[in-house]
């Protein structure tokens, strides 16, 4: 598919004379896993908010899932999924109730909810836990469930904000299996992470420094370009040039 999931041109967000996001331009293909990296305070969250239709850019252009970030924020929200480490499911609802709730929010019919819910529970192997409160599940399970719920309406793009923070390595792998699976089914995955090894799972990576995108390429090309053995070194080489103190 040649259609672009995200198109960004000179996207800028300014607070007073502070450029939180400074003229960034990039495209993301449909079905691509796109890593969005940057040190704390480099402007990742601000950029992601604009793309999710949560805040207006100061200037520039961007379209997400084919919709304009200035004029069609509601359409954008209908066509994306969102999950972050902080955003979690309702702890006092059961697994199934959470699925029903979020599916309902995105307008799934009762029949779809039932089918999708069963499918999701089977896929995660959570048949036994379906009636348990989400609060009593281990963190890794919650994260996997949260991700599955975020894409229950088959959005065109899913935004993941540090989805695997603090999760054990085995579960982290399983989480990435889910991400690959989603990408395989055509969902674009836009992900931020602090784990540099995870960055290498992505098809392409951008690194933000001081509100700009200073590097954008496949992990292999970036490593070559920076003569680095790992993404960690690439990131370090880039982030070291930052002038802005974070937050």
């Amino acid at each position: 598919m040649s259609e672009k999931a995200i198109v960004c041109k000179d996207l800028t967000k300014r607070f007073g004379d502070f450029f939180a996001v400074n003229h960034i331009s990039f495209d993301v293909d449909q079905g691509e896993i796109f890593g969005f990296l940057g040190a704390n305070g480099a402007g990742k969250t601000t950029a992601m908010r604009m793309l999710c239709g949560l805040s207006y850019p100061t200037s520039g252009e961007a379209s997400v899932a084919g919709y304009n970030v200035f004029k069609q924020q509601e359409d954008i929200k209908r066509n994306i999924g969102y999950m972050s480490q902080k955003f979690s499911l309702y702890e006092s609802l059961t697994v199934r109730e959470n699925i029903r709730f979020y599916g309902g929010v995105y307008g799934l019919s009762d029949k779809q909810l039932k089918e999708k819910g069963d499918e999701l529970i089977t896929k995660l192997g959570m048949e036994k836990e379906a009636k348990m409160m989400v609060g009593s599940l281990p963190l890794g399970w919650k994260q996997k469930l949260a991700f599955s719920v975020a894409i229950i309406h088959q959005p065109r793009i899913v935004f993941l904000d540090e989805p695997t923070g603090g999760v054990d390595p085995v579960t982290r792998r399983q989480f990435w299996d889910l991400i690959y699976d989603a990408a395989d089914s055509g969902i674009t995955v836009f992900v931020t992470t602090h784990y540099m090894d995870e960055a290498e799972y992505c098809n392409r990576i951008s690194v933000m420094v001081d509100g700009r995108i200073d590097a954008l390429d496949t992990p292999a090309n970036l490593k070559q370009q920076f003569e680095a053995a790992s993404m960690n070194e690439v990131f370090y080489a880039l982030a070291r040039t930052a002038k802005r103190s974070a937050d």
């Binding site: 040190a39 792998r173 090894d197 799972y201 974070a246």
Partner: protein, 307 residues
């Protein structure tokens, strides 16, 4: 004598939840940089809270600097430095006020032990009149470390000091820890980032309240059971799915842009067998090589044995 010891410590927070710690024992030598490596919920924070006398264990004994954590908690409180997992300074106080407050609280002055914190403090000193709440993650972390060090503790407990901090600040932080080690301070540090394990002298891998193994990072890697291979091909996800179908496969998981895998039976399942099988599945440009596992591979191997 060991500076920190735990013997058969167990702790549970309630009947209906799995125990936070099960029969945990380890010891930390004087002047050692010891790492507790494990994911969230492994029990790292509980260990720190028991050692810093904030929590009582259900079973077992523990000592810090020769003092019992239950009987001599007051003595322990004056000789340890503790940095909890969450940024725990006063957000509405400036850098200088925070430091001064904690120095006085521990019955000392900033000047008395300035040599110890000088290197770290000078990095944030230009902002000393800024309130802690307005600092960046890296700066907060440095300030918290200064406050934990200001009374020159014998033992320093750092609970996930690098969580949520970007790669650059993390690197700097570990460099600071190496310098503190030179000063003879015993350091116990926890982290969920497996790649930081190699920066510790000895580590304990911990998962769901149980210690998986304790040794130097090198020895843990040496003890990896069997051989580990790295597999490469252009279509990673498809490769992963297909490789898992292969009969002799013990474990296969993604690690960056490559797959890490091990065979059930080294004698039978040669890499060559896998390669031809993959080719029959239509994969092109597949390469395989034996690699040295890293701590994360060891952790994954240990957890799967545990399960």
């Amino acid at each position: 004598m060991d500076t920190v010891t735990l013997q058969n410590v167990s702790k549970s927070y309630g009947k209906n939840v799995p125990p936070a710690l099960q029969d945990v024992s380890f010891s930390v030598k004087k002047g050692e940089l010891f790492g507790l490596i494990g994911p969230d919920g492994a029990g790292k924070s509980t260990i720190f809270r028991i050692l810093t006398t904030l929590l009582l264990s259900d079973k077992g004994t523990a000592t810090v600097a020769g003092y019992d954590v239950v009987k001599n908690y007051h003595e322990i409180r004056s000789c340890v430095g503790y940095m909890p997992g969450k940024f725990s300074l006063y957000q509405d106080l400036t850098i200088e006020e925070n430091l001064h407050f904690f120095a006085t609280l521990f019955g000392t002055t900033v000047e008395a032990n300035y040599a110890l914190i000088k290197d770290i403090y000078e990095q944030i000193a230009p902002f000393k009149d800024r309130r802690a709440g307005k600092l960046s993650g890296g700066m907060k972390q440095k300030l918290a470390l200064c406050c934990a060090l200001v009374h020159r503790p014998e033992v320093l407990f750092l609970d996930e000091p690098t969580t949520g901090v970007d790669a650059v600040s993390r690197k700097e932080f570990w460099e600071m820890l190496q310098r503190l080690k030179q000063e003879g301070i015993t350091i116990v540090v926890s982290t969920p980032y497996m790649d930081e394990a190699s920066l510790c002298e000895r580590i304990a891998l911990i998962q769901t309240g149980q210690i998986l193994s304790i040794d130097t990072p090198a020895n843990i890697i040496k003890a990896y059971p069997g051989k580990l291979y790295a597999l490469r091909a252009p279509k990673v996800y498809l490769l992963l799915k297909d490789t898992r179908q292969y009969e002799g496969m013990a474990q296969c998981y993604a690690a960056g842009d490559t797959l890490h895998l091990s065979f059930k039976d080294e004698a039978k399942d040669h890499p060559a067998g896998l390669l031809s099988w993959l080719e029959s599945k239509g994969h092109k440009g597949v390469s395989i090589e034996e690699i040295t596992p890293d701590i994360e591979d060891c952790f994954i191997a240990k957890t799967s044995i545990h399960e």
